[in-house]
């Protein structure tokens, strides 16, 4: 039969990735001496699954390679072999090879890896012998006397039925080969203590001599030890069958059940698989689907309730309509949340790579680092998750390279020789907060400043260090062209700077802030929106036009008091808000909106990247959730605008990019910017 094996192959590849994660995590645990009794079993099962699946789904090279690893693991599991660091390191390398094979298969290849041969030999060497590949499955055939008919005695043991093997099945298979029942022996049936659960019958069969002996014996493969089988060649013509009265019945029964049963043996052919790019798929907790189905049910009920109002004009129609609409609103909101929930994945998908990464890098650097992970179950949007991976890797590398000191240096400072890197994630409001915290040397403000001056970064020109807050000095790390490493090291100096990290995070609508204590450690705190599809927005009017300001950026809104405005040189305006001085921007000027300004200007204080900015608007309207439509995909990127949305009345409305506006204002802002550090 033809079957679309490709679709299962995709599932296998996904599952293989999960098994590889298990392999890696448990091998690392084994190495660190943290393995529990079940660890080695888990590793073995993972390798076993990969091998079995690879063989089943046509990735024979992967299957053969994994076989060696599995054999090694089996020996470890059964205690025939002790785990050594070298062995674990080798098995980790083997894991990498399988991962390469997997990637190759995913890209449409046959699942090969350039390192397979090398590592395979090392594995075989470790196994102590150049072990052959998987045993050949071909069954050896033995040629015996040609031509003569077969004679077969088949005597099931009394308890054969207890293994689920029905003699009728065996007779049916023998009949398919051309063997015929000549005699059924009832002798034992008349035992005094007859037990219906036991088998009392036995059979004699004959068949043409051109049947392969191995084919006959293969039928008894499963019942070895559960029956006596005597197969011989008949040199003389077969004796006439001796039938007792009852026998024909049994023979007929056996033969009739031997008729091939065509029902359902021809499954529908699957359409020929079209070679195409691997599908993007997502695994979803079944409970989430159930919840969706429930909600759709609710929605249908509400809809029919509203439909029943059509054409009625009773006194309570209005009231029932209002009730129905309010129900519809809550249903829609719940449905929306559930649908978004489908895209939510635990952050462990991004965190899982770190145990290995931290181990490899710290070994390479000669540092002793323990990785702690907290809150791996925190969920966030799949897109955000995919795009935060690389920035996280970069920041972790950075922390290992620059943050955590060498063991000697740590000891000299009265710290433990081993450093700790903590990755944690949690939900905070509508955000996910990810912390990357090390207990290393901390950031040296003076050094950072000197470096920035040396690099002649624009922000430091004509300025003094004491004009900057701590946070602003730390933020120098994110300035393009900045690197703290004395020499560009192999690890951190890979061309991607922290400026790119910061930009990636900003592109996701997130922010990153640094806190540090000299000699104690550094913490990078990343805030990300839970999803990029929907945001809570504040609708504001500027002249005749409406804009959305993301609620998350708004600190407060107040009536603009003209007495508090401070005009600085170059048309730059500040606002004295209590003890703070904020730079102020008139959105109508910035965006060139149509229409007259409103009678009472309002000040909307927004914050991004630790800096505040006052936006002057004409009116604050509703707060509502808006669905974000990309401007870049549908039009082009606009400075100060992060996207667009469609309001309830069909009007298109732009969403302000607060981090962009803040950054832009800071760039033009002149000296007094320093006043507003949060």
């Amino acid at each position: 039969m033809e079957l679309d094996m490709d679709r299962f192959r995709q599932i296998f590849l996904q599952e293989c990735a999960e098994n590889l994660e298990v392999l890696e995590a448990e091998l690392l645990a084994l190495e660190a001496g943290l393995a529990d009794d079940d660890s080695i079993n888990k590793v073995f099962r993972a390798a076993h699954s990969i091998k079995g699946g690879a063989g089943t789904f046509g990735l024979s090279e992967m299957s053969r390679f994994t076989h060696h690893l599995e054999t090694l693991l089996d020996e470890l599991r059964s205690g025939q072999r002790q785990s050594t660091p070298a062995l674990v390191a080798l098995m980790l390398k083997a894991t990498d090879v399988i991962a390469q094979m997997r990637s190759d298969a995913e890209a449409g290849g046959n699942g090969s890896s350039p390192n397979a041969e090398d590592i395979s030999q090392q594995l075989q060497a470790a196994l102590g012998k150049g072990e052959a590949a998987l045993p050949d499955t071909a069954v050896a055939t033995t040629a015996t006397t040609e031509g003569a008919d077969w004679q077969l005695e088949f005597v099931p043991h009394a308890d054969m039925l207890a293994s689920g093997n029905d003699p009728v099945r065996l007779l049916r298979e023998l009949a398919e080969l051309g063997m015929q029942v000549k005699q059924c022996n009832f002798g034992r049936l008349y035992d005094a203590d007859y037990d219906p659960q036991l088998c009392y019958l036995s059979w004699s069969l004959t068949g043409p001599g051109d049947i392969d002996e191995s084919e006959i014996l293969e039928i008894f493969d499963w019942v070895e030890g559960e029956c006596d089988v005597n197969l011989s060649r008949q040199t003389t013509a077969s004796p006439a069958p001796v039938l007792t009265d009852a026998e024909p019945l049994a023979v007929t029964a056996a033969v009739s059940s031997a008729q091939p049963q065509p029902v359902a043996s021809e499954p529908p052919k699957a359409a020929a698989p079209a070679r195409s790019a691997p599908e993007q798929s997502i695994r979803i907790d079944i409970r989430k689907i159930d919840q969706l189905i429930n909600l759709v049910g609710e929605l249908v009920i509400t809809q029919s309730m509203l439909a029943s109002l059509e054409g009625t004009d009773g006194e309570d129609t209005q009231e029932r309509l209002a009730r129905g609409l309010s129900l519809l609103k809550s249903n829609t909101k719940a449905l929306q949340e559930s649908v978004l929930g489908i895209r939510m994945l635990p952050i462990s998908f991004a965190f899982n790579r770190f145990p290995r990464l931290v181990r490899d890098i710290s070994q390479q650097l000669g540092k002793d680092v323990t990785l702690k992970m907290v809150g791996e179950h925190t969920e966030l949007d799949k897109t955000v998750l995919e795009r935060i991976g690389d920035p996280l890797v970069h920041m972790v590398r950075n922390a290992l390279d620059h943050g955590i000191e060498m063991p000697d240096a740590r000891r000299n400072n009265g710290k433990d020789a081993g450093g700790t890197l903590t990755l944690s994630a949690c939900h905070e409001g509508g955000n996910v907060v990810i912390d990357i915290e090390d207990d290393g040397a901390g950031l040296d403000k003076q050094k950072l400043w000197n470096k920035a001056v040396e690099k002649d970064l624009a922000i430091t020109r004509d300025r003094r260090i004491d004009e900057f807050s701590d946070a602003q000095i730390y933020d120098l790390i994110f300035a393009p062209g900045f690197s703290t490493a004395a020499a560009v090291s192999d690890l951190s100096g890979r061309g991607v700077g922290m400026d790119v990290v910061k930009r990636n995070i900003s592109d996701l609508g997130g922010s990153v802030e640094i806190t540090s204590k000299l000699g104690k450690g550094t913490r990078f705190r990343i805030r990300l929106p839970l999803t990029m599809a929907i945001l809570d927005g504040q609708l504001v009017a500027v002249g005749e036009e409406l804009f959305v300001i993301p609620l998350i950026n708004i600190v407060e809104s107040l009536k603009l008091d003209t007495d508090c405005l401070i005009k600085a040189g170059g048309g730059v305006v500040f606002y004295q808000l209590r003890q703070q001085t904020l730079p102020v921007v008139w959105l109508s000027e910035l965006l060139g909106t149509r229409g007259e300004p409103g009678p009472i200007p309002l000040l909307c204080v927004v914050e991004a990247a630790g800096r505040k900015l006052g936006l002057v608007v004409d009116a604050l309207l509703a707060q509502q959730q808006v669905v974000i439509k990309s401007l870049e995909q549908n039009f082009r990127r606009l400075p100060g605008i992060s996207g667009a949305t469609i309001l309830g009345d069909g009007q298109v409305c732009l969403i302000l990019d607060v981090p962009g506006l803040v950054a832009r204002r800071m760039a033009q802002g002149g000296k007094a910017d320093a006043v507003t550090a949060a």
Binding site: M1, M5, G53, A162, N165, D166, Q197, E224
Partner: protein, 119 residues
């Protein structure tokens, strides 16, 4: 309709087994480990059980033993999925009361052929 209970901890194998057998007109229910399979087997009677050997919680050998102890599964065919490289697993499976085995890697054809043998 012949009902089949299939236990395997690998989702891809489960999907393949389920799709293949359902396409051939069988009523198939899957379980991701032996313990779950055993629980399902107690809720309804199946005509055939197919089980992987290496599974978390309860492995195929344990599942076979446990099923044979249930009144409804004394004579039910139980097939274990095993690799050619582990002949001792076959013996262990047989010892636990398995009817026979399907050797991994297998393809849908082999699976159907073997299932049709015992159903």
């Amino acid at each position: 309709m012949t009902s089949i209970l299939a236990a395997d901890d690998s989702a891809s194998i489960r999907e393949m087994v389920q799709f293949t057998l359902e396409s051939a007109g069988f009523d198939v229910q899957c379980a991701e480990d032996g313990a779950k399979a055993l629980a399902i087997a107690q809720t309804r009677q199946f005509d055939l059980v197919i089980s992987d050997v290496n599974m978390p919680n309860l492995d195929g050998i344990g599942l076979t033993k446990a099923l044979r102890a249930l009144p409804g599964y004394q004579f039910t065919p139980i097939l274990i999925l095993t690799t050619e490289s582990s002949p001792e697993k076959k013996a262990e499976g047989k010892g636990a009361g398995a009817t026979g085995w399907i050797i991994k890697p297998f393809n849908p054809d082999t699976l159907l052929k073997t299932v049709n043998k015992v159903r």
